[in-house]
Amino acid sequence: MNKIKKLLSLPESFCLLITIVLFIVIQLRSGQFFTSNNITDLLASYTVPGIMAMGSLIVFISGGLDISFPALCSLGGFITLTVFKDFTGSVIIPFLFCSLVCGLLGMFNGVIIAKFRFAPLIVTLATEALFWGILHGILRAREISVLPACFEKLQDSVIWVATNPETGISSQLPGVFLIFVGVVILSSLLLRKTVYGRKLFAVGGNPSAAENVGINVFWIRVSAYIISGITAGIACLCRSMIIGNYHPNALYGYEYNVISMVVLGGCSLSGGRGSVIGTIFGVILIQTMNLSLTLMNVPTYWQKFCTGVIMIIGISYSAYRTMKSSQTLSGVMNKTDDKVKEVK
């Protein structure tokens, strides 16, 4: 019983709980939720926000915040698609190139923030404007509706095709979904199994303590922004491949979507706490909700309203949990203080 209680007190479990309730409501209202093709569609739709959320999560854990990533990756993506316009070699090369460009842009963010200890919100707000400015003003970015030939094979690859026997509709899970799976596994290993991951948590939780035990706080912070840049760059290329079209403004405003997924998944805004599994629940919750309101007969006018309500419930619950846990924590600390006094 205690174990269940403990499980329920985790911020992730709340997100999971709303997600399950949502699934059931959608199934009851439409009778179409638990069909193979619907699940396939939803899985495919997690790819882009999911990859971005992993980078965002790592930045949050390190105690930072990055809102510039949609601008950053639109810029990196445009440069990549332009440079590799007539390239016919392996698809890995444009991906590596895009990661390099976006990683450098992320490093630019990270160095300014970590070196001068500016508020990350202000810095990334500024660099966001800067990146959009470069993209539109200097590069005069335009829509690219035919992607380079090297992407074709990956773009056309399909993991499975699910057909709904009743309606005859078939949905495909595109090959790029595997990239999402790969990014999730890597992030999870990085955070859970490596020394670097532990350092990230340490820096986000208490930077001065981390510094005292000899962690290079500066580089840990910078590296988090580099990772955020790289994941966003990969996500941008994946998005272009799924829809077969690159548009410079397609990801405009996407940061709010991704950040709310990460926060709903129980990640702390002040750093040091968050998990890959919670973030995935956040992605599933918001994305499923966005994509199922039509299925549930919610009129288009009301869809934004519903999204808002569920987000308020979710975020206020995580905030409540955080408040409670910090209260217990300070309670424990007070008790220790008392004990210290007693000893004295």
């Binding site: 959009w132 400015g133 509709i169």
Partner: protein, 348 residues
């Protein structure tokens, strides 16, 4: 050091903003050149500024190119000004800048029409001739030029869709934005036309919103097709709707048709691989040129449209040579049926 960097960052921000408005800056230099080259045509020394939508879209790039051509062809000082994103505040400040530059005429071709109304009121009070295009619902303007009237456009789209669907089956309408005046007027006209002329077609009464984004159009189309697998047609009003919808139809392997507003470049892939049969659009550059001509005609007439604006008037370009006038709205007849065959004629 911190202060220096703070300063650098803010400079960077300002610079990036300046870069966003980059389209108007180089135009300003050519402005003076054009004015210098045509001193004889003193009568025609008007400053005409067109305010368009986001400069990254092919649509507005076409407008920009045609305005630049117009300036070269006629020697009239016409410029294109557009924001980098679809954020209305950026457009409003652009209009305010143009008012303080004392242009003679403003041509407004934007999506965020309600947001710019107050700024346009200021412009008119400052004595500037304001002409809107694609904005029949606007109020603070002297005249409005349309490639065709909204009713005709809606009916035209419905005819195209009905032909592809064999005049029977269920269909649904997708608009870019539920608040877009033009999209919803087309949709209403299309639906009314269907009810009158195609009794075997049935409207699914849900207006989908694609947020003028191909990815959203694709997701919405997939959802509605899941709910109504026997759907026969999707009428798309935003220029990204046919792309998104036809991708969804292709993926789901259904026999559903899409017709609507598109552009050749956006739909290049799906038109060429046969997923999408046809799209319709007008040439926004031609509308812009015709509107510039209208502005010159009115300015020549001392800023008054009386006597100049009348039924059957000729704005000097194909499709605008025999316009219909209804109040302050001037309608041309300039729709294009775009298929893979006339692809190369419309490079935007």
């Amino acid at each position: 050091m911190k202060k220096v960097l703070c300063l650098l960052l803010s400079v960077a921000m300002v610079l990036s903003l300046a870069a966003c408005g980059g389209s108007s800056a180089p135009a300003a230099s050519t402005e003076t050149q054009a004015a210098a080259e045509a001193p004889a045509a003193a009568k025609k020394d008007y400053k005409i500024a067109l305010v368009g939508g986001e400069t990254s879209s092919e649509w507005y790039m076409r407008v920009e190119k045609c305005i630049n051509d117009y300036r070269e062809e006629t020697g009239i000082n016409a410029t294109f000004n557009g924001p980098a994103t679809s954020d209305p505040t950026e457009t409003v400040s652009l209009i305010k800048d143009l008012i303080s530059q004392k242009v003679d005429a403003l041509i407004i071709n934007v999506d965020c029409q309600d947001a710019v109304e107050p700024a346009l009121k200021d412009a008119r009070e400052a004595g500037i001739l304001v002409i809107s295009t694609e904005g029949t619902g606007m109020t603070n303007r002297d005249y409005d030029v349309e490639p065709c009237d909204n009713k005709y456009y809606g009916e035209y789209m419905m005819q195209g869709l009905a032909k592809q669907m064999g005049e029977k089956g269920k269909y649904v309408v997708m608009v870019g934005d539920l608040t877009s005046t033009s999209h919803n007027a087309w949709a209403d006209a299309a639906i009314a036309y269907q009810k009158e002329n195609y009794p075997d077609m049935e409207l699914i009464d849900e207006r989908l919103e694609s947020q003028v984004n191909a990815e959203v159009a694709y997701e919405r189309a997939k959802e509605i097709l899941k709910k109504y697998p026997d759907l026969g047609g999707i009428l798309g009003c935003s220029s990204f709707d046919p792309l998104g919808a036809s991708k969804a139809i292709k993926e789901l392997g259904l026999d559903c048709k899409t017709f609507g507003n598109g552009t050749m470049l956006t739909d290049e892939e799906v038109l060429k691989d046969g997923t999408l049969e046809a799209i319709t659009f007008w040439d926004p550059g031609l509308t812009a040129k015709a509107t510039c001509n209208l502005a010159v005609m009115i300015l020549d007439n001392g800023g008054k449209g009386d006597g100049v604006v009348k039924n059957g008037m000729d704005l000097g370009y194909e499709g605008y040579d025999n316009c219909t006038v209804d109040g302050v709205c001037i309608y041309g007849n300039a729709l294009v049926y775009g298929t893979v065959d006339n692809f190369d004629e419309y490079p935007f």
